[in-house]
């Protein structure tokens, strides 16, 4: 009887494993079905692109880390509404950037009915996270155009790259309104006033936005909602907007009008 009980326990645990073998929590081994998600989502966004400007809405959230229950709720709340065209996750999709955390994020984010763009956060740079992110999503700096608005996705992680400056040359170049776009809108995980930015980097970031005539900059990282013209007294009047973390149970809806952006904070 005892023998039988042991066998049953062992057998039931073995069969319950969702992924039978894991070689290392740090492995860079992304399933082919989970590869290249950014490319796939950009394709879907391109399919609904109107070609010329037409007002539209996007949903923003970020810092889901391992708040999986709250994250699931955000996805189901967003799935219940149909008024936005796509969503952007502003980074920090994991906590330690280990294998299953990436899989759990991928599992939940792929329940979204609308396309989602995922930005890299500082936590994704731990261990081999960057390489997993690159396989699962794609390059960390890229741009795309939707309804004649240019979206600039920028990887501005510093410390986790062993204190390497972000690719500011790329950023400056791509912030240029080179095709009469209605808006050029940058998105990056860390806001420039964070302690990861040196004083020079902080001023450079704001300078680039100002020089290129950018009016809004969206970030995650702080786990706090903020919307202010942060450097008004220094240079320009760029509006910096940061999102809450997933455990604050909310998201932002940004309505892109011809001459301005309207930000609505939704909590549940």
């Amino acid at each position: 009887m005892k023998k039988f009980l042991y066998f049953i326990t062992v057998l039931s645990i073995l069969t319950a494993c969702s992924e039978a073998f894991e070689y290392s929590p740090y492995q860079v081994n992304v399933k082919s079905s989970e590869k290249g998600q950014t490319t796939r989502n950009l394709k879907r966004i391109a399919e609904i692109d109107q070609g010329s400007f037409k007002p539209f809405k996007i949903a923003l959230f970020g810092d889901t880390h391992t708040f999986y229950d709250d994250f699931e709720d955000i996805v189901s709340k967003l799935n219940a509404r149909d008024d936005f065209d796509f969503a952007i996750h502003l980074g920090d999709i994991t906590s330690s950037a280990i294998n299953r955390e990436f899989q759990w994020y991928s599992d939940i984010i792929n329940r979204m009915k609308k396309p989602v763009i995922t930005i890299i956060g500082n936590h994704e740079y731990l261990s081999n996270g960057y390489y997993v992110f690159e396989e699962m999503y794609g390059p960390t700096n890229f741009t795309f155009v939707y309804n004649n608005c240019k979206f600039v996705i920028f990887d501005d992680i510093i410390w986790e790259k062993n204190v390497a400056d972000p690719d500011f040359e790329w950023f400056d170049e791509n912030l240029t309104n080179d095709n009469n776009y209605t808006h050029v809108i940058p998105f990056s995980h860390i806001p420039p006033w964070d302690q990861q930015f040196s004083y020079g980097n902080e001023l450079a970031f704001n300078y680039m936005l100002h020089e290129n005539g950018v009016e809004y900059s969206f970030h995650g990282h702080t786990h706090q909602y903020m919307d202010e013209r942060r450097y008004e007294s220094v240079l320009g009047n760029v509006r910096y907007i940061t999102t809450e973390a997933a455990n604050d149970r909310g998201y932002l809806i940004v309505t892109v009008h011809k001459d301005s952006l309207q930000i609505e904070k939704v909590n549940f």
């Binding site: 062992v10 073998f21 929590p25 699931e72």
Partner: protein
């Protein structure tokens, strides 16, 4: 459900440590040589430093393949030092990962006889894993503020499983090993367990994975 599982696991480990003391019949220190040199008696504890077992493992969060050497302490407790590797060729990972693991295995029961010289032993234990790859650290690099991140190099990995033991001695022939064991373990990782406890989303099956291995006990 989770509380029951955790307390059961704790009980099993506690029970195993108690049992280890009771069943410690083969004291390795008694198997020693005595030498008399310059009128002084020198006791050389034989076989203390020579490992008692050799192990080869597939998967189990310490690499695609890992090799280990270890000691048996009594009949219930085994300590094995394992070195595991995963790279492009072994385990299809673009970045290579090397792992050092100190594996503590408890035999939960002497053995259930199955057939002739084949028996089954249920096991449980915990492994301490050091992972070496890009951007893992034990001590936070200096450029971070205090406690910005928790260390991400060392992980605790508990497991339960069982092994099929084939005893050579009972066959009557002289063999190179005392017995050989084939084991299967289901294990997890501290970071995964934390998410299982903390969230409803992560289920028990989501945090477990398997290891298969073979051990040779040559003493």
């Amino acid at each position: 459900m989770r509380a029951i599982f955790i307390s059961l696991l704790m009980f099993v480990v506690f029970y195993a440590t108690l049992e280890a003391k009771d069943r410690d019949t083969t004291n390795y220190l008694t198997k020693s040589d005595t030498l008399i040199m310059n009128h002084e008696k020198v006791v050389i504890p034989r076989r203390v430093f020579i490992p008692d077992h050799f192990r080869l493992q597939f998967a189990g969060n310490i690499g695609f393949i890992s090799l280990g050497l270890g000691y048996n302490f009594g009949k219930s407790y085994e300590l094995t030092l394992m070195y595991g590797l995963q790279n492009e060729f072994f385990g299809n990972s673009k970045e290579s990962v090397r792992t050092l693991a100190l594996k503590n295995t408890f035999n939960l029961y002497n053995s259930f006889h199955i057939y002739k010289n084949i028996s089954f032993v249920p096991t449980a234990g915990i492994s301490i894993n050091w992972g070496f790859t890009n951007n893992t650290f034990r001590k936070l690099p200096k450029h971070y503020p205090n406690k910005y991140y928790f260390q991400n190099r060392v992980h605790l990995a508990p497991f339960i499983g069982g092994k099929i033991r084939y005893d050579f001695e009972k066959s009557g022939k002289k063999e190179f090993a005392r017995h050989v064991e084939l084991y299967v373990e289901a294990g997890s990782l501290d970071a995964y367990i934390l998410e299982w406890v903390r969230t409803d989303y992560v289920k028990l099956g989501d945090i477990m994975s398997l290891a298969i291995g073979v051990s040779f006990y040559y003493k």
